[in-house]
Symmetry: C2
Subunit: 110 residues, 2 copies
């Protein structure tokens, strides 16, 4: 039952990123969410379980459906975690970059 680690890692996974975005527009049932993806419904259920563990999402039972929605407090904490990572030094670098010409020849490794 390990289930990923921190909220940041939980939210970084591409499928879960999209899930969060979809849920941000309003509550959705598992089936509604699943049809937006190519993977099966159980896979979505499992992703939702990870997001629930991370406190980013919650479910409300209604009959035989379960409406998932985002937990605002969890999102706030995630935001804080990102901001903490994005501490002063990185911000200074960004400021520095935007001051220069924005488009510059990029250099990647061979």
């Amino acid at each position: 039952m390990s289930r990923v680690a921190d909220a940041l890692s939980a939210a970084a996974e591409p499928t879960r990123r999209r899930l969060l975005q979809l849920l941000a527009t309003g509550p959705r049932t598992v089936s509604e969410l699943a049809e937006q993806f190519t993977v099966t419904r159980p896979a979505i259920s499992q992703h939702l379980a990870v997001l629930t563990d991370a406190g980013l999402v919650t479910a409300r039972k209604d009959g035989r459906q379960r409406f998932y929605s985002v937990v605002p407090a969890g999102i706030t904490q995630l935001r804080a975690e990102i901001d903490r990572f994005w501490s002063t030094e990185l911000d200074l670098l960004v400021d520095d970059a935007t001051k220069r010409a924005t488009t510059q020849p990029e250099e990647h490794r061979s």
Copy 2:
């Protein structure tokens, strides 16, 4: 040589997060970086390769050392990617959350 996917996933990995933070304070050699971690130097080299692929980091050769440093433009792009993820809806939810009582009983799954 698959090497992760997007910059966001590259930066999400805990060790690489720390590497970025360390490099944000200034250029470092591989050995300098490696002694901050419990893993071996080659492991750090590999993480640096991933970050280089993602355009977040670059290396300057000097004798037999290699000084790694952050690529400001890459960091800016990463920031943009995060901001794009953190689109309007999620922001509204956060605003909503901060308006309510900040500390609330959290509810996780069993």
